[in-house]
């Protein structure tokens, strides 16, 4: 609790105690009035002051004005009821000062609770995002010195002890350790890191002491970028939020005029046209009840709070959302378009198998690895990886690389050819066609065919689960775009259960296909594009929602996407959608609940069924319930 809140709590307790004490004091007339004014002033002086200032600044239609008018009005009615004419109407005049004070008291309790709850959830959310490092250790004359991370220059060597946060992005130059990246990715398994590995700021060093050479300034480091992104997430407001602020702008004046009409019109009609007694106090009382009910606070507070909690909960799970408008759009996502490489597959080529071999499989791979060892092509890298041993380059001679075909070289005086079908045809070797999916390397030794190696991109472990989870969560259509060949694309799509595939695309084609899809979809349906953010920035920005994944440490992705998945697990896509749905469900619940209860109470108040006490519930009670409901959006771990 801060100072303001403590002061408010004291005021609430003192005035509540005074009301109870005053019940036992038998005072009459003016003395009674004066005594009851003490708790009223204690609890309400700031509201009265604000209302007065509002009138001076011609900004009168706010809740302070409503409360001031309602309570002063209630006191006036109570005073009037002291006279004999009111007694004839059968309204008990005894407690009515209490009612005015109670209205003010409950209003302040509501405000107090609201300020406490908002402050609390603000703290909760920032605790979730508590990745900001406070210091960096620099070694000076053999001793460690703690400095402000902002002051550390690029290339400085910093020391991170076990249990400390990595303050700045860099490369490990000494030591081995495991890093806890859960604050960044939501992934609970620690990551092993050793010399020459890049480390990202915000990770927690778990086991060993490491020395890091920084590669970025603090302000450019991952942790600063993420914090910046989350803290500024609110600048893009969602439709719901805009609806509420617009609603509040018209609603409050409308209710004030409504109250005025309620106070004046029915008595006049009764008096002039029906010849009845005007019953002024009854209708003024109803109008005041009307004013108390009308306060728009529950709505205005709970909607941004729900979004804030939703964004906070999502970032705790490694899903960064750049604004509530994107969270809202994501909840309406009906079409999800994927990039293949790097999104559904790992983007790393691996040897899948060796087929049709006439010599042992290991030998086929060894020969292929040797002839390809001078190439830097991803295919040759995967061959070397599959071979797994050092290549003795002295054994290789006369390397001849034929572009678009393959390589021919002499290994231990044997002529080895490794390449595609075209190469085999060119050197006149009878090869066996391959029925497997992927890139095929045929190998021939001394004009004898010895076998084929199939290399393919491997699917991410959760790719299939991710697609079926999207389907379960109401996504109508999944589409995959790829620059890869039709055969490979269709095979991957079939394996994953993707509905539609577009293959052999250039980057520009991806944009036009997304545009076609955007045109076809319904108005309320949103299209999300998921990519790795490296070369699909135009598509990311063209789609309704651009999702970049595996973005840890990739600035380009963080900048071009609307939603950033910190690790590269495709399951996070459906998780993000589930989080957004939960958040929006809460937002709608709050909108309907708050407006609904208010409207019902307004009608009851106008008819004279609702009294001030129900009015208080409609104001404070609804607000409390809406705030508690909003905080639920924070809990998304188990979704």
């Amino acid at each position: 609790m801060n100072k303001k809140q403590k002061k408010m709590l004291v005021r609430i307790l003192v005035s509540a105690a005074l009301i109870i004490v005053l019940k036992w004091i038998p005072a009459e007339g003016l003395l009674r009035f004066a005594l009851y004014m003490i708790p009223y002033i204690i609890i309400g002086y700031d509201v009265l002051k604000k209302a007065w200032k509002g009138i001076c600044n011609r900004q009168m239609f706010d809740e302070n004005f409503l409360m001031a008018i309602a309570t002063i009005g209630a006191i006036a009615v109570a005073l009037y009821e002291g006279s004999a004419s009111a007694a004839a109407l059968g309204i008990s005049g005894e407690n009515d000062y209490t009612e005015a004070i109670a209205v003010m008291l409950f209003y302040q309790i509501g405000e107090f609770f609201q300020s406490y709850a908002v402050g609390k959830s603000r703290r909760n959310i920032s605790e979730l995002m508590d990745i900001r490092p406070d210091y960096a250790n620099i070694e000076k004359d053999g001793e460690l010195e703690q400095v402000d991370p902002d002051e550390v220059e690029i290339g400085t060597i910093i020391v991170v002890k076990p249990g400390e946060k990595v303050p700045i992005d860099g490369t490990i130059i000494e030591g081995n350790t495991s890093l806890n990246t859960s604050a960044l990715t939501g992934e609970s398994l620690p990551r092993e890191a050793g010399v020459d590995d890049e480390v990202i700021s915000g990770c927690i060093n778990l086991s060993g002491l490491i020395k890091i050479r920084t590669t970025k300034e603090f302000g450019e480091s991952t942790v600063s970028k993420i914090l910046d992104l989350v803290e500024n997430a609110g600048s893009k407001k969602s439709k719901s939020e805009n609806f509420i602020s617009k609603f509040a702008r018209y609603y409050t004046p409308a209710v004030c005029y409504g109250a005025l009409a309620l106070a004046v019109l029915p008595p006049l009609v009764r008096w002039l046209f029906m010849g009845l007694s005007p019953m002024w106090p009854v209708y003024i009382y109803r109008a005041l009840t009307f004013l108390v009910i009308s306060c728009p606070c529950a709505l205005v507070i709970s909607i941004p709070l729900s979004f804030f909690a939703g964004i906070g909960g999502a970032s705790n799970q490694g899903v960064l959302v750049k604004g509530s408008s994107y969270l809202e759009a994501l909840s309406e996502a009906k079409y999800v378009v994927f990039d293949k490489t790097g999104t559904m597959t790992q983007g790393v080529f691996e040897v899948n198998g060796v087929y049709e071999n006439t010599i042992p499989k290991e030998d086929v791979i060894e020969m292929a690895a040797y002839v390809e060892s001078f190439s830097t092509h991803p295919i040759s890298k995967s061959l070397l990886k599959a071979y797994g041993k050092e290549v003795d380059k002295n054994r290789i001679h006369d390397v001849q690389e034929i572009s678009g075909h393959g390589v021919i070289a002499k290994v231990d005086e044997k002529s080895v050819a490794a390449g595609n079908e075209k190469l085999m045809k060119q050197i006149g070797v009878a090869f066996k066609p391959c029925d497997k999916i992927g890139t095929v390397v045929h190998v021939a030794i001394d004009q004898q065919y010895v076998g084929q190696i199939v290399i393919s991109d491997i699917l991410k472990p959760h790719a299939k689960e991710a697609i079926s989870s999207l389907k379960r969560n109401g996504v109508k259509k999944t589409v995959m775009l790829t620059g890869d060949t039709k055969v490979v694309a269709n095979q991957v799509a079939k394996e994953l259960g993707i509905d539609e595939v577009y293959s052999e695309l250039l980057p520009a084609d991806k944009v036009s296909i997304v545009e076609q899809l955007l045109e076809k979809k319904g108005k309320k349906e949103k299209l999300a594009f998921v990519g790795d953010g490296i070369n699909d920035a135009p598509v990311l920005s063209r789609a309704d929602i651009g999702i970049a994944m595996g973005a840890l440490g990739s600035d380009a992705a963080i900048e071009s996407a609307d939603i950033v998945l910190m690790d590269d697990d495709p399951l996070k896509i459906s998780k993000a959608i589930k989080i957004s749905r939960k958040c929006l469900r809460i937002v709608y619940q709050n909108i309907f609940f708050a407006i609904g209860i208010k409207l019902i109470c307004l009608v009851l108040g106008a008819l004279g069924i609702a009294n001030m006490w129900l009015a208080i519930f409609a104001d404070v009670g609804v607000m409390v319930i809406a705030v508690l409901n909003a905080i639920r959006a924070l809990f998304v771990k188990k979704l």
Binding site: K4, D46, K49, K50, K53, G54, N57, Q59, D62, E63, E111, Q114, S115, V118, R122, I125, E231, N232, A233, G234, S235, K237, S245, A248, R249, P296, C297, V300, I301, P304, L305, F307, F308
Partner: protein, 72 residues
């Protein structure tokens, strides 16, 4: 030119009103108030003195909501 300022305000509706007031201030191109993060993002027009404009913004905000503060 965009800048972010820390603000202090008690209720969400007041934050909305501050946003409106800031938007209407001369020299301000656009402004958003994030009540939850207690931040005001102001986009200034070209070539204006930020401090002078922010003084005006604060004065205008005080008019609509007496109980607010902007730190600049």
């Amino acid at each position: 030119m965009k800048k972010a300022y820390k603000i202090e305000v008690d209720c969400a509706n007041c934050a909305n009103k501050m946003e409106e007031a800031a938007k209407k201030t001369a020299g301000v191109k656009d402004a958003t108030v994030n009540f939850m993060a207690l931040k005001m993002h102001v986009e200034f027009e070209e070539g204006v003195d930020h401090k002078a404009v922010m003084k005006e913004v604060l004065a205008n905000c005080k008019k609509v909501e007496d109980d607010c503060e902007i730190f600049f």
